[in-house]
Point group: C3
Chain length 323, copies 3
């Protein structure tokens, strides 16, 4: 039997999960049960993807309410997640604020948004992370795969360095790939054009070689997303290229084995089939990775998910990995 | 804590809910349980959105089977809803027949469709409503937000007056808004164009000022839909304008706080997140409204819904409003 | 009461159900329960739609792994389905391999793909079907409705004859209709254009008269799909034409009464409403059919489905047919 890399980390999409992936309306009790379910299949790492999006905040950030037009949240969900992480022995990583503005616009004020990220990270460090044994590190949540995302690369460099100064913890990024399933292509072009425009493994290696070299010292761990390339024909190659380009730059290679399915007729994000998930986990192992995270447990492989196929996936996964 | 307006009314989408919002295949027992669930969270008003659509009828209308090409229904669901409304102490409003034809076409025979509406309302009054303590009033189910929907405005005026003569009960309308999330825009134009074309609060106020003035005396209650404008940037303004324009014309202001989410990447109508629902209910209270209805309990906030996130929403809602 | 034809057969979409219709991640135990649920509502026929798609196989086909680039499957699901069919007294039909290539391309090597189909059918006969009392027959899984699908018609003729020689069992096809709801139209043209381009009942009769005459002797049973034509205005006519054209060519008429809904605003394949399903089953009875199959029980009308509306449909169906 081919060895498969187990999933030991997951994003938590709370707050940003309302545009492509609908909110599940979980109570605190469900979140508690879900942390227990994560732990039961070996997950030791949870990454809150963003601590705030547009006007919505996960915690009452004085800075963002005053300077970014955010609303005072009705309750402090960041506190809840720290409490649950401590209770269940899971390390909690925290992602940065996202204004909803387009980082690719030349006119975009990236300095202002980086300031928002730094200030809220500082608040979170002071008020939550510093005193919690559960705190794991910082997540820089810009996820572009675009070659010209200079603002994003600059953010990785500057905000990553800031995080190191702030607390000494590691920084993580999870970039996309400009592949044929990338939403920025599929929303504009028909499938055949997407395949023509899509990045090749060699182009991807060259581009990210340059980017990672540029952000060296600021970024510690890289976990590329994987659903944006064709599973049958490209994914193995891209996994290897990703492993090579990350390790060649002295960073720690994780891989984001997404548990939704993008190769569908509509982008409705159903949970992946267990067979296809296993394929990816075997390929990740073969490519050399030693840690897989996923986007994300709660919607796509949880026994508490609103999608029944996710609940079933949890059963198959747990049984296979004998947890 | 900011006060939130509770939801005390809901549409019932049965029969029309097969194009955008799939049928849930509920048995009579589930409907019974659902009326109980409505009542348990304070809902006292249920509005059957249409008593017939195209060939399908909620009750065996001799007029519509003879004159509108409708099929004899296998069973009388209108009778079921009256029985359940009586049992659970909920007022039942009845919506008019809809042929499926395009009311906006200049060549459309609106007189014929209004005749169908009147005749079936008369049948319903005679055979169901007259003798039921549960009957609440009449719903005029044309829901356009378009400035040039003259046929619809004429229908409000004529059919509304007919309803008053028929039974003396009140009439209700729930118009859409030609906002940036309106399906008639989003199905044709990209998001940026929709935002440009969309009606402004001032244009909306002027247009509906004229329309409501025209239908005065025929329409008693107005409950604008609310999902068709941007939640973050426009909804508060539109809620206030709606309240003003309705009360300025001497009508009763209700508001239709829809419980599905339109601000998604695909129009798949997921249940709204509780946070966003609460935002809307607080804004509705601030705008002055005293009664909120919703489209609709059964799919989007019921413990019997086929969508698990709706079942979860019911729990969060019930807990918040301490019912 | 109008008589309705009961559904006594279903496809099993396992392996191919990952593009339009997501995988449900069922364990063996769920499949066992589902065969029992099928039987409980009178289903005696299960048709595995394809024994392999692209690189994925339902059984370890030495031929396809060696000659078609298929991967060795982690387990033998064909064996499971034979075991369950025997246990529950259901006849199992087996569908052919599909490479994922476009059969309509003039340059497509149909001879090679037919060779794959024949070789895998021979393997299946030898290793599974020959010794199983559950084996029912062969399914030729190309499902086009296009007039110019010459490759497909040739496949029906040659592979059908091969099946007869191989085991003497009957062969089944389930072609689509080039109607206004056909995905090959709706993915390219707006609704009004689809209605213009769509095949008429008379064109359909003429085309399939020629095709069925051509494949006579190779194909025994024909079960046209039915969702691709307008339900209100066309389906009755097409059902009658289908019955006529099949029987006129001396073949056995089955009908594929699909249990998903295509007449929706997005092609998300929700379970059909029970009312609309009953309409179709009554019309099928009136058209003369004596056996209805469906695509498919597991997703759209099973008590184990990941779609709650399917679970509800099962209850309504079972109650109606007093099983």
């Amino acid at each position: 039997m081919v060895e498969a890399l187990p999933i030991t980390g997951t994003f938590i999409g709370e707050i940003q999960a309302d545009y492509e992936i609908p909110d599940q309306n979980w109570s605190d009790e469900v979140w508690d049960a879900d942390f227990a379910a994560m732990k039961a299949v070996g997950i030791d790492t949870a990454i809150i993807i963003r601590c705030g999006v547009r006007k919505k905040l996960l915690y009452p950030s004085e800075w963002l309410m005053k300077n970014a037009g955010c609303e005072r949240p009705r309750r402090d969900k960041l506190q809840l997640f720290f409490k649950l992480a401590e209770k269940h022995g899971i390390k909690l990583w925290i992602g940065g604020y996202y204004s909803g503005n387009d980082w690719m616009l030349a006119t975009y004020d990236v300095q202002k948004e980086m300031e928002h990220m730094k200030r809220s990270f500082a608040e979170i460090w002071e008020n939550y992370a510093k005193n919690s044994p559960a705190f794991g590190g910082w997540y820089l949540s810009q996820e572009t795969g675009a070659r010209t995302a200079y603002n994003v690369f600059e953010c990785y460099k500057q905000v990553g360095a800031f995080c190191h100064d702030l607390s000494g913890h590691q920084t993580l990024i999870s970039p996309g790939i400009s592949g044929c399933n990338n939403g920025s292509l599929t929303s504009k072009y028909p499938p055949a054009a997407c395949r023509r425009i899509a990045v090749t493994p060699d182009e991807h290696r060259e581009m990210w070689g340059n980017v990672l070299d540029y952000v060296k010292g600021s970024v510690d761990i890289v976990a590329f997303q994987n659903s944006q390339v064709n599973r049958d024909t490209q994914m193995r190659d891209f996994l290897k290229v990703n492993y090579d380009v990350i390790t060649a730059n002295g960073m720690t290679p994780w891989t984001n084995i997404e548990t939704f399915e993008l190769e569908t007729s509509l982008r409705t994000f159903p949970p992946i089939s267990f067979e296809c998930l296993l394929d990816k986990l075997e390929w990740a192992h073969q490519a050399g990775f030693q840690k897989a995270i996923t986007y994300e447990f709660a919607h796509f492989m949880s026994p508490n998910s609103c999608a029944m196929a996710a609940r079933n996936l949890y059963g198959l996964y747990k049984d296979y990995f004998k947890k």
